[in-house]
Every structure is written in structure tokens, then in C-alpha cells.
């Protein structure tokens, strides 16, 4: 069974997690055209590669982001949505 690291609860087997799909930036609903919106809700960046994904640690109710290579299943990083790595760096330097 695959292991995944919850940023709050540590490394756990996959059975403790629920996959929440690819993280996608929502376009501005007020300014996007019907077609742009329809593409956003229906289409996916579905070719293999490194994706940002939502994952949920079920026992603790923690949502987080995993950067995962969907071709190799390698997880490059996991972090809370509110605390992406780039922000971390800024916080540390501040």
C-alpha cells in the first residue's frame, strides 16, 4: 500500500486518505465566457505529469495539497492549501 504524508499527521497508508481530484484555479465566473467556464468545469489537464492534487486525511479531517507525478506516483511535496512551500520561504525570511 502506498504511503502519503499528511502535513499535520505524518506518513500514513493510502487507506486513510481520500483523493479529492486535481487542484484547479477557478476562473473568475463574472468575467469568463460560457465556453471558458464550461471548459473549466468539464475538462482536465489529464496528461501524465506532476500535478497539484487535493487529498483528505480522513481520521483527522485534514485537506491538503500533494504535488504528485501521475506517471510514477512519486509524491514530491505535501502541504496545507493555506501554507504552500513558497509562502513558507517568505515567512522564514521575514
Amino acid at each position: 500500500m502506498k504511503l502519503l504524508k499528511c502535513p499535520i499527521n505524518g506518513t500514513r497508508p493510502l487507506s486513510e486518505f481520500i483523493f479529492g481530484g486535481e487542484w484547479r484555479d477557478m476562473p473568475n465566473p463574472d468575467t469568463s465566457s460560457d465556453l471558458e467556464w464550461a471548459s473549466y468545469v468539464h475538462y482536465r489537464d489529464n496528461a501524465p505529469g506532476i500535478k497539484k492534487e487535493w487529498w483528505y486525511h480522513s481520521p483527522s479531517g485534514t485537506w491538503f495539497i500533494a504535488e504528485r507525478n501521475t506517471l510514477t506516483d512519486e509524491v514530491l511535496a505535501t502541504y496545507l492549501y493555506s501554507n504552500p512551500p513558497a509562502t513558507n520561504v517568505e515567512e522564514q525570511s521575514a
Binding site: M1, K2, L14, S15, I18, F19, E22, L35, A38, S39, H42, Y43, R44, N46, A47, P48, K51, E53, T70, L71, T72, D73
Partner: protein, 413 residues
């Protein structure tokens, strides 16, 4: 049959010809190029040649023919879908399957076993009735049956599922069948090859040339090929091919796993599916139980196996058949399923002229092999989608016209 067998015994030298030629060097150009030497691609090639006289066709296969999901599925053929369009489409496929051994002159072991979709809850029973009603309307033999009829067809099953989720009834689909999946690919390959189609194995597509929104040719590991028509029939590799032409689709790839038991004397005569337990099982002509489950829970472009799958599957199988506790699983494997949001395929034309899509086959691709080949061949030949596949067009998503298959919550394979 006696004659066919005797000729092997009497003839000294083995005289069976090759199923298909060993093509190595592609021509400069083809009328059509089919990417993917699985059942679908080969069937499309076969019907292009047979129905439309288009024989200057190349089939490009990255690995070996039938090596993708054609050779990885659990070989179930059925048409008990939920929408009239779905039922009509798969029913046409069943009808083609029924005559296919004769047409292709290869024994596909197309075995009509009857198919039970078990319902363990009242809501599942509702869905069964819904499917049955639509099937009946379209003229497909499906009906809701009670536990007595299930017990008669499969007396060995514990209808209470070890007390854990008692079966309340089922959708019985009489035409439900199984077949030798590999042989379907081989038969179509031989048929297409004999009419002039060239099949290239170990041939990878590296790019597709588009100019002014129109297909110009295909870059392959065996060189560049000129063509105005390209059919992508690559299931789990669809996103990779679509990326080459910058075409967006809603497809997501999830592995779908299956496993097989050691052979035992046949006892299970029907095909059983349980949506709630995520199990489907039949017994092959070799005596093995062929079993599958639901999709893996997350996106992954690979065919690795997981232990969770086989743990979950066997625990449910043993709930249904406690006496199989010590029957052994020999092998597990996986395929990459190209899933669409409305559980129906994506077929037909695309915004790119000359680029045709046969994709989104999820967990239901094998059963559609003949009809997808036939309708896609028609679509390529006429540059117009076949009537049967109109509701499977790619543009349905932008149009918010998803097919109603999504309505059925219950899983079925």
C-alpha cells in the same frame, strides 16, 4: 470441427499461415492512420476495409497487438445500459459479437452465460428497474428478478453475503456473455491484414502534424507518415495523444484491476456483478474465476497492482462464496481506464479536421469493440459521425448535454 482438427494431425509440416504480416517499414502515406492496435483500432481498420473499401490504412501499435486493455479486461459483453442511446449502441455490439466467430473465422469462445447485476439495497433495486425498463423499451432482454431466480442460477452463492449485505434481487440480462479477449484482437488483425491493412507493432507515435486546423501526418518511431485522417483509439493513452494535438477532454485515467484464480472444474455458469460490493466474477473456459472490482481511487497512468485491491475484492468474494476461502488467486493485473464524467465514451469528430477520437472507454470498452470499430470506420469514411454515436460526441460537455448514464449510481461492468 473434425475436419479442422484432423488437418493438424495429418499434415506433417505445420501449415498455418501468419495471422498478420510482420510489417516493418511504413509507406510514405496512407489514407488513414489508426493509432492503437487494440481491439478498437483493429476493428476500425477491419471495417474501414470491409465496409468502406478503404484498405490503404496503417495501424500503429506502441507495444504488441491487444496488449492494452483488450488483453486486461474481464471479457464481459452486455448491453443493459441506462439510456436508450447507450442500450442501442451496446446492443448493436452484442449482435456483432454473436456472429463474430463466424465472420472472422476464429473461435472467440463467445459464451452466452447470462448476467446478473445483484442489488443489495432498495435503491439498487430502483436502478435495476430503471435499467430494465429502458432495456425492455429498446427491445433488449433485461428484467428484474427476485432472489429465487438468482438462487436457481447460482445455488452456491450465499444470498445473505455472510449476513453482511443480503441480496434483494437482481437485474437479469440474458444476452450477457464472455469471450476470449485476445482472440478478438487477433481475429480483427487477421481480417484487416488480409484486406491490405498494415499493422506495425513496436511503433510509437511521437507527434501529429496539424496545419490550419487539419491533420497532415504522423511522426512515428519508424519515420514520418503522411495522412489526412488519424483515429486515436488508445484508451488509457488518450490524454497523451490528445496533448499532441492540443485537444482538451474531460478524461481522467484511473487504473482498473482484475485477478484470476487457479483453474477448477466449472461450477459458476453465470456472470455475477455486484455494484455495492464492487465485484464482478465469471468462470472462464479454462476453469479460472476471472474477477474484477471498481476503479482505483486516484488518477495514475500505470498498470501496477495494489494489495488493497485484492484484499477488498477477495473479502467480498468470500462473503458471497464462503467455500472459496481456500481457493487461490494466481495472478493480479491492472489496466489504465480512461474515465469520463458521464460514464459514456467519447467518439467521433473533433474540432481538428481529420482527427477522430475513440476514447473514454473506462470500464466498458471490450464489450463495445465491434460496434466502435464499425461506427468509427463509418465516421472516418464519411467524415460524419455515425448516428449511433451522436450522443457520445466530445462537444456534449461544452454543451452541458452529458449522457444520462451518469444517472445510475450503481456500478456495472
Amino acid at each position: 470441427m473434425a475436419y479442422q482438427l484432423l488437418k493438424y494431425a495429418l499434415g506433417g509440416e505445420y501449415k498455418e499461415p501468419r495471422f498478420f504480416r510482420d510489417c516493418q517499414t511504413p509507406k510514405k502515406s496512407y489514407d488513414a492512420v489508426i493509432i492503437g492496435g487494440g481491439g478498437h483500432g483493429l476493428a476500425a481498420a477491419y471495417y474501414l476495409a470491409k465496409d468502406h473499401g478503404i484498405t490503404n490504412v496503417a495501424v500503429l501499435e506502441k507495444g504488441y497487438i491487444g496488449g492494452g486493455n483488450t488483453g486486461r479486461n474481464t471479457t464481459i459483453v452486455r448491453s443493459n445500459y441506462l439510456t436508450p442511446d447507450g442500450v442501442n449502441f451496446y446492443d448493436a455490439s452484442v449482435k456483432l459479437f454473436e456472429g463474430l466467430s463466424t465472420e472472422l473465422d476464429i473461435n472467440l469462445f463467445y459464451s452466452n452465460r447470462g448476467h446478473f447485476t445483484l442489488a443489495h439495497s432498495e435503491s439498487a433495486m430502483r436502478t435495476m428497474r430503471w435499467r430494465a425498463e429502458v432495456n425492455k423499451h429498446v427491445g433488449v432482454k433485461s428484467r428484474v428478478v427476485g432472489t429465487d431466480e438468482i438462487a436457481k442460477a447460482c445455488p452456491q452463492m450465499d444470498l445473505s453475503c455472510s449476513g453482511k449485505s443480503p441480496i434483494q434481487g437482481a437485474l437479469y440480462h440474458e444476452p450477457g456473455s464472455i469471450a476470449r479477449h485476445d482472440a478478438v484482437a487477433w481475429g480483427y488483425a487477421r481480417g484487416a491484414d488480409s484486406m491490405g491493412v498494415e499493422i506495425f507493432q513496436n511503433t510509437e507515435v511521437q507527434g501529429i502534424d496539424i496545419k490550419d486546423g487539419k491533420v497532415q501526418g504522423v511522426h512515428t518511431s519508424r519515420g514520418y507518415i503522411l495522412t489526412g485522417k488519424v483515429l486515436s483509439a488508445v484508451a488509457g493513452f488518450t490524454p497523451r495523444i490528445c496533448k499532441m494535438v492540443d485537444l482538451k477532454t474531460p478524461i481522467v485515467i484511473h487504473p482498473l484491476q482484475a485477478c484470476v484464480s487457479e483453474p477448477m472444474k466449472p461450477w459458476l455458469d453465470t456472470i455475477l456483478v455486484s455494484g455495492s460490493l464492487h465485484v464482478y466474477v465469471s468462470q472462464s473456459s479454462r476453469g479460472e474465476l476471472v474477477m474484477g472490482s471498481s476503479l482505483d481511487p486516484y488518477e495514475f497512468h500505470s498498470t501496477r497492482s495494489t494489495f488493497d485491491f485484492v484484499e477488498g475484492l477477495t473479502s467480498h468474494i468470500v462473503d458471497m462464496f464462503p467455500f472459496l476461502s481456500n481457493v487461490k488467486i494466481v495472478r493480479q493485473w491492472a489496466g489504465m481506464a480512461d474515465i469520463t464524467p458521464d460514464f459514456a465514451p467519447i467518439m467521433g469528430m473533433t474540432p481538428i479536421k481529420g482527427f477522430y477520437l475513440d476514447a473514454g472507454w473506462g470500464t466498458w470498452g471490450f464489450k463495445a469493440t465491434p460496434i466502435s470499430g464499425k461506427t468509427m470506420a463509418h465516421t472516418l469514411a464519411n467524415d460524419k459521425a455515425h448516428d449511433l454515436i451522436h450522443s457520445f460526441r466530445l462537444s456534449r460537455f461544452e454543451e452541458y448535454e452529458l449522457t444520462g448514464e451518469k444517472g445510475a449510481a450503481s456500478v456495472g461492468h
